[in-house]
Symmetry: D2
Subunit: 373 residues, 4 copies
């Protein structure tokens, strides 16, 4: 298959010497810190954005430990809102100074993968639309690069706070995808396994598809509180026994839809087990390369139960984020509830990252204001 | 095509003389009043139910003016909750004394129409699953008949009020069907034309599918108030100019989805006009036999705009109502807000019916307690 | 949950002593032979059918070895066409003497499971709509019972041969379900793993959904020949190397859709492996109770590849079979190609069953004429 | 909404004087002839293609009579295969000399309209992805321009004839879209109204979705012959009575799916009339700006029949055409049957166009080889 670079500077006259900038990322596997790197330049369709607020994500820490992608000298981060600094010659909708929301998934829309209409996440190859961390530097930097700006940037609405908007670019898009894949109908009983930030968004997303009972599985008190505010009617804890049995007891045999928003290989089996015939298991959890996912044939109804198993990556591009911002603008959801920690100034990046890396007990989602407020 | 009777008493030994009962209905076209009729008996799969609360509907008044169905000597009414009085020999899930919710649409589940999975409303022929008024007496009576009780009755949940449950059997099922047919995605802009009781439920149903902006079209202050409580972000009035232009102005060119929940033939054209390319027009309004629905080819994008036009009848059967009750049980919606008038005692049926027939300005939905409370 | 008997004789006056009949089935686990049993009687909605042609199936031999269901004294068989012998009092569409096609899956249409519209196979519980073998005697008998005749029997069309019709009741319905679950689009590359009778029908079903390339995986010469006639463009053999690598080589990385129509637990992993991102794995293979289905997380794109895994049971009921008969009537498919062996007379049942049990190398599908032709 | 030019030459150094070329098109409304125009140049994402075979279409003659789009000095034509002459600096998959198939619909893939996944035809506005004729010159010329070449051009497969490939770019893509919109299930009865080249492709497309009975409505003997070869089982003629009554008689009440592939406003009403409850009307016919489409409410089941009305534009882009070429490559369809006339040399363009304009009785589809063969 032919592939294409995600940005292209061939047409750009590089008459001036490269400008250096500061970023935070992976020096080598298991070692993060500050990096001095060349400031990116925009190809003709692209933009350079200066972030104003960024949010570390467990995917960043996962990469920093060698989970996938490049193994050294990589700026981390993929969740940002910011201000356009520079645009390529073919960009028509954005100009320097524009305040923008940046999807964490920025497809090459000229690929075949996005033409199918099934997902926007797989442009030239599986998960190929995820450029940050995997194919280029991330957004924990003074500046970062966005491919195909007209299709991948969104103007910040006046009536949405930057913090709320920041939560759409990955957390809400991924969590809501869990609810979408689950094909929830009015009144369905939905289980969400894992009520971290993505799972909480899956709870909210399920509530906004008309679910009846929503059972969150988790234990941390602040997450439990928000889960209830977002629509969970029941909370089940791993600590109080086998979760499959608890769900079967509560539901009289199994749930209509089960969303996996956290866990390990064992979670996969549990999710299949607790789903009723004709139900759906919807996965938005990143399984580890080392995982082997397995289920007894009986769990899956010997392959005959019309029990679908789906799993998908965060949908990307501008339209997706525009739609999620509409949900916020019209008062359907306050995404800022999941922000548990705020850091003031880029120099606090290290603290924020460490917090995420160590998964502090009261952590849900931290954000970092690039300039001290 | 072969058809079958909706209930069958061939196996029933009629050893005792028929028992008479009182009902309220259409004496002849444009004349309603009290009727003395034979109390129905249950075929082997059926049940006889004694209503406890009933709700008149504009379909009842429509029929009373000769709109469709039988033209005389017909007990009206199709929305009821009640108590099982008698069951047929093959009924396994219900027994006399059970408190039940009764779907207004009760398919013959042995038909080919319901096997297709597309709709439950068209068992042996178009709208054939609607038995009350069309194929037999309605529920404004001391007793009424329900075909295939095991598949068409629902046990009243302990944690749902009878009034709330009563609103599911037609208003909520129909209104929510409008939202279902519209295929609403997260953040979509949805217009609901007509915010009477069904339109209000369509507003709530759209909100529970994750719509962003929801624009209700209507004028009556109490309806406007509830529309906002159910999720409408904007209200447009017919009185303030052409609704198509108002919607196009508000939305910058057209809505993603438009639900028709009231109006006449002109409304059809307006709905198509105000819908964007790739949008959906979803109709849950009963057009009149005399209507001709028309649209300039341009409104429909010359037939090329991938703008779908759908319209459907209230889904029926037990599972549908169970799912809607789940929505209520888990606190997603308070259906009782649309109940504007309560009448105490079956003898007030006439008052309730007249109120509905005259469409009093503050009327949304009346209910009648069969026994004085 | 309440369950109901699949037929009900409570209303039936049993004034005459039971009549005995002959059947062929499982005497005990691993031992088949002739049985003398009481001839069934029809409940009010049911029919008794006298088979004219029957077809043994690998599910019958599977059950005979203790695979599932009752463990002794069970008449086997679930694929039949025949003549109506007796109908219940509430049956309206069929009368004694009618020639009928009998779906192998005969749902209780008054259940909640069939009201959902997702599948007809799971009426009161998982696979509950499969009555023969599991919940009552099968059809290798002088007479057999069909629940809810009006909804589960089909009049034999004059322009379809009984042999062709017989192939619809399980083989075609199951194989085509594989193609349906795979959501094939025009031009898709489809792999069918296993080209026994069901796999061959999946090949034909894929061709009739507009697939482009169809790759059958199998080795037996007569199956390969028919696979090509049914639309397979390529044949891959297990004997010539790893099938995953062969498919990846042929397709340049993976197939759009993979249908599992045979194999064991390892086949599941292979199917996931050979499916592209955004593709579908569709299973119609009965996995064994002892199987554990597993896949490395990477095969499934770490759960992020939007690669759906589905599996379903043979759809049942009258409408399904009517639709499949339409496909045959209009010359789209000759289902009789898969009939490899014909036996003349019920007394040959034993030979036919042994042939199926031993999986003779040239066996595809045997049929048995109940009366010598 | 912001819009963008479909090609952009801002980055292109125009150091040489413009080159002139010859084209055939609309001099003014109702007057066609030869035009001398500037040869287009490629923007950075674009390509210039030299056609080798072109096909006039009734849309071209429609435009020439002032139907839509520019009103003078416009090169017509939108169906071509050819050879790449020049590519922009950012094009990676194509080079001068490549033999290519050119979709007639070439979306701007950086638009919001294509991100929704519902259709590729409406990029920045309704039908905005159709660039030829509407937004720039067409392909009846020595050279023509293609926007976003990497996403909108397809390499000509070695095993598909150029003539067969040419039939995919509009005729097959449009006709098959009719079958797609109709959501045909196995065994459905499908009517195709109009069996010109697009209708014939709709017949073939219906057969390749597993339709049972397919009824073509038309009269011309050569079309009738091909319709039968493509899968029509019945032919109904306008000349032998009302087509609605004929279809209702043939089908016992109405068809499951009706595809409109020709006709006028009256045809719309007829199509709705002849479709059963829960069926679909699928339109791929370009209605005229002057048409008013109307239906008696009863035809549409008073808006309650779950009878969907859809209509869509030819899907475009590279993936679509690749998929259709796969259908041809694997022997599912011979698209060249619809080619009724071949013209040798660009100078015969006038004859070909006149033939199309006058709709000669034996005309189905003409093609013109640009160089005499």
């Amino acid at each position: 298959m032919s592939t294409r670079t995600t940005f292209d500077t061939r047409l750009k006259k590089k008459e001036t010497p490269p400008v250096m900038m500061r970023g935070y990322g992976m020096l080598e596997v298991n070692k993060t810190g500050w990096l001095e790197k060349t400031r990116p330049v925009a190809g003709p369709l692209d933009a350079i954005v200066r972030p104003t607020i960024v949010a570390p994500c467990s995917s960043d820490t996962h990469v920093s430990h060698g989970g996938s992608g490049p193994k050294k000298d990589l700026i981390l981060g993929h969740e940002a809102v910011g201000i356009v600094e520079e645009v390529g010659e073919l960009v028509t909708k954005f100009a320097p100074g524009d305040r923008v929301v940046v999807p964490c998934v920025t497809p090459d829309w000229l690929s075949m993968g996005t033409q199918s209409g099934k997902s926007t996440a797989h442009d030239h190859f599986m998960m190929g639309s995820f450029k940050f961390l995997s194919q280029k530097d991330g957004i924990f930097a003074e500046y970062f690069h966005v491919n195909q700006a007209d299709a991948n940037l969104v103007h910040m609405p006046d009536d949405v706070s930057p913090e709320a908007a920041l939560m759409t670019v990955d957390m809400m898009s991924t969590g809501f995808h869990g609810a979408e894949l689950a094909e929830i109908g009015y009144g369905d009983t939905v289980v969400v396994i894992g009520i971290g930030p993505v799972g909480l968004m899956a709870v909210a997303g399920a509530q906004l598809r008309g679910a009846g009972r929503i059972i969150g599985i988790g234990t941390r008190p602040n997450c439990v509180k928000i889960a209830r505010e977002y629509g969970a009617t029941d909370i089940v804890s791993y600590k109080e026994g086998d979760i499959v049995e608890q769900i079967k007891d509560l539901t009289g045999g199994g749930a209509d839809k089960v969303i996996i928003a956290g866990g390990d290989a064992e979670t996969f089996r549990q999710a299949v087990d607790m789903t009723k015939e004709m139900g759906v298991v919807s996965n938005i959890n990143f399984f580890d390369l080392s995982h082997v996912l397995s289920m007894p044939a009986w769990s899956w109804g010997l392959g005959m139960a019309n029990k679908d198993i789906r799993g998908g990556f965060c949908p990307g591009g501008a339209l997706r984020i525009q739609k999620l911002l509409e949900v916020i603008r019209h008062g359907r959801l306050d995404t800022t509830k999941i922000i548990s920690h705020k850091f003031n100034g880029f120099e606090k990046m290290e603290d924020a990252f460490d917090l995420m890396d160590k998964k502090a007990p009261d952590l849900i989602k931290p954000i970092v204001y690039m300039d001290a407020q």
